[in-house]
């Protein structure tokens, strides 16, 4: 029997619920969801959205919580070890688990820079640096100057953005350095309630906008909500709308990344996963469907009307968050205060997600190489700092999009499919059902035994197949990438392949060391 090192634990049940919800609630809840809903049938989008939530999102959530707690019992907090614990006879399965460290690491290295923009804009809002700008072009130029994409009257280089990146980076490493209970749990326990307060304040502000321009009475808040919620049932005939809804559920619940596996590995054997998982998912849904849908799109409708709102909704997440929303808030009284609320809300959503993305790599070093958390956090800090640089300096050359595709889309669905297959067919559905219910504070409805065994994997395979044909193939073949950006995209791919190979080698070394020491941890 292997000697299992004493691992970190959550201090309370609320702690892990807040941490998993914090990991799930990110910039996408406030920017991606409303844009997707508006572009894909409005209220009708909620039909495939809820179907995906109950048939795909929640089952995957329970699978990951259960696998994580199971692996934690063997002293493993990441997918290589967890997969190996599930299927000990298979020598290769641990290498598939590498995706569960690679994916979050790749997301972390570009997400952190974007997160640092929200911290910077919170500061700019309070100091009034952009609050006098009253048109889209000025705010776009402000953003491009800040990102270092152009030199203009607002910024002469990337220096300020880099300073905020460093501050955000150090803040993240500092939280990780203090561990699960002392760092991540503490952060999430105050950040999540604060995020909800800011979300509520902004929602109430938007709901009380009325019709600010008396010459345009049709541009009112009720019509703004109508733009987002009036259903267009014809959209449901499109397979794309169903895929978009399933994709949104994937991204919003943070399933398929490997983060929930790691977080759940710090649970005790008799801790509940059913109720805790459902509570974390419900908390995330409030942030998305209630706050996310009530702020940016209805507010933008009131100021830009029914014609422009369509192009705004499709203008991309960065444009919505860093151009449209500040412009709307600049047109209202107290722009500094509400601008700060908006960007600090995004920052809190960002940091509670980014610390979770760092955790699998840190846990891997701790658990499989038996090194201390502080040393693991320091190694992670050095490596991830180097890896963050291409996304910062080649932002305009397609590097971030490329990182997002591999880390945040492609491997996410592949990983979810692997863990579902392992859970159902290798672990075995009956054993898996018993494992889910260990220490459970509520019973999973019996129908879910059928759903998890038959519907969720079929759903996953359909998504995997459809995305591959419709969306991934052109991306993989670099069909829509400008010629000048192709070397950067290719360089990013080679870099990612290198990271993947290094992680696989580390897994091999870790297992060889354990074998050499007679199954004992070294």
């Amino acid at each position: 029997m292997s000697e299992v090192k004493k691992r970190d634990n959550w201090g309370s049940r609320l702690g892990i619920i807040m941490a998993v919800a914090g990991s799930a609630i990110g910039l996408g809840n406030f920017l991606r969801f409303p844009a997707k809903a508006a572009a894909n049938g409005g209220g009708a989008f909620m039909i495939p959205y809820f179907i995906s939530l109950f048939l795909l999102g929640i089952p995957l959530m329970w699978i990951e919580w259960t696998l994580g707690r199971y692996g934690g019992g063997f002293g493993h907090g990441t997918a290589p070890g967890i997969f190996h614990s599930l299927w000990q006879k298979n020598r290769f399965i641990k290498y598939f688990g590498v995706i569960g460290i690679f994916g979050p690491l790749v997301i972390f290295i570009y997400y952190l820079f974007i997160e640092s923009w929200t911290l910077a804009y919170s500061f700019f809002a309070l100091t009034g640096k952009y609050t006098a700008l009253m048109d889209q072009n000025s705010l776009r130029s402000f953003l491009a100057g800040f990102q270092g994409l152009e030199k203009n009257q607002y910024f002469s280089g990337i220096g300020i953005a880099y300073a905020f990146f460093l501050a955000t980076f150090l803040l993240n490493i500092w939280v990780i350095y203090y561990g699960i209970k002392g760092g991540i749990e503490k952060l999430c326990k105050w950040a999540l309630p604060l995020l909800f307060i800011f979300g509520l304040v902004l929602m109430i502000r938007v709901m009380t906008l009325g019709s600010p321009d008396l010459s345009k009475p049709d541009w009112n808040i009720l019509a703004g909500f109508g733009f987002l919620w009036n259903p267009d049932f014809s959209a449901l005939k499109s397979a794309k709308v169903w895929l978009e809804a399933a994709g949104q559920i994937f991204f919003t619940l943070s399933v398929g990344i490997g983060v929930i596996l790691t977080y759940a590995s710090y649970l005790k054997k008799a801790d509940d996963v059913v109720l805790s998982g459902l509570t974390a998912a419900a908390t995330n849904e409030v942030a998305e469907v209630i706050f996310g849908a009530s702020i940016i799109i209805p507010a933008a409708f009131v100021f830009f009307g029914s014609v422009d709102i369509k192009s705004i909704a499709q203008s991309g997440v960065f444009n919505l968050g860093f151009v449209t929303m500040p412009l709307v808030l600049n047109k209202l009284p107290l722009p500094a205060l509400f601008g700060f609320f908006w960007f600090f809300l995004l920052f809190l959503a960002g940091i509670t997600s980014s610390v979770s993305l760092a955790q699998p790599a840190v846990a891997f070093l701790e658990d499989e190489f038996n090194i201390s958390r502080k040393r693991a956090a320091s190694i992670f800090g050095i490596v991830s700092f180097i890896l963050c640089q291409p996304g910062i300096f080649f932002l305009g050359r397609g590097v971030v999009n490329e990182l997002d595709f591999w880390g945040g889309t492609f491997f996410l669905v592949v990983f979810a499919t692997i863990e579902t297959v392992l859970f159902i067919w290798v672990f075995g559905m009956d054993k898996a059902w018993d494992e889910i219910h260990k220490g459970a504070d509520m019973a999973v409805p019996r129908a879910y035994k059928f759903i998890i065994k038959h519907i969720t994997p079929v759903f996953l395979f359909i998504i995997l197949g459809m995305w591959f044909i419709q969306e991934w193939l052109p991306i993989i073949m670099m069909k829509n990438i400008p010629g000048a950006d192709k070397p950067f995209v290719l360089g990013t791919r080679l870099g990612l392949l290198f990271v993947l190979i290094i992680l696989a080698i580390l897994v091999k070394i870790a297992w060889r060391r354990k074998k050499l020491h007679g199954g004992r941890r070294v």
Binding site: M46, F225, G226, W229, D272, A282, E285, V289, D441
Partner: protein
């Protein structure tokens, strides 16, 4: 906003708030019992 829009917003928000309330009541009642 159309009536169908209202129906969708009330259904969606009701479902989510209901789910959250149900979960947190259960979470806190268990905590007290322990």
């Amino acid at each position: 906003m159309k009536l169908t829009g209202w129906i969708f917003i009330i259904f969606s928000w009701g479902l989510i708030i209901g789910m959250l309330t149900f979960c947190f009541i259960k979470v806190f009642s268990k905590k007290e019992a322990k």
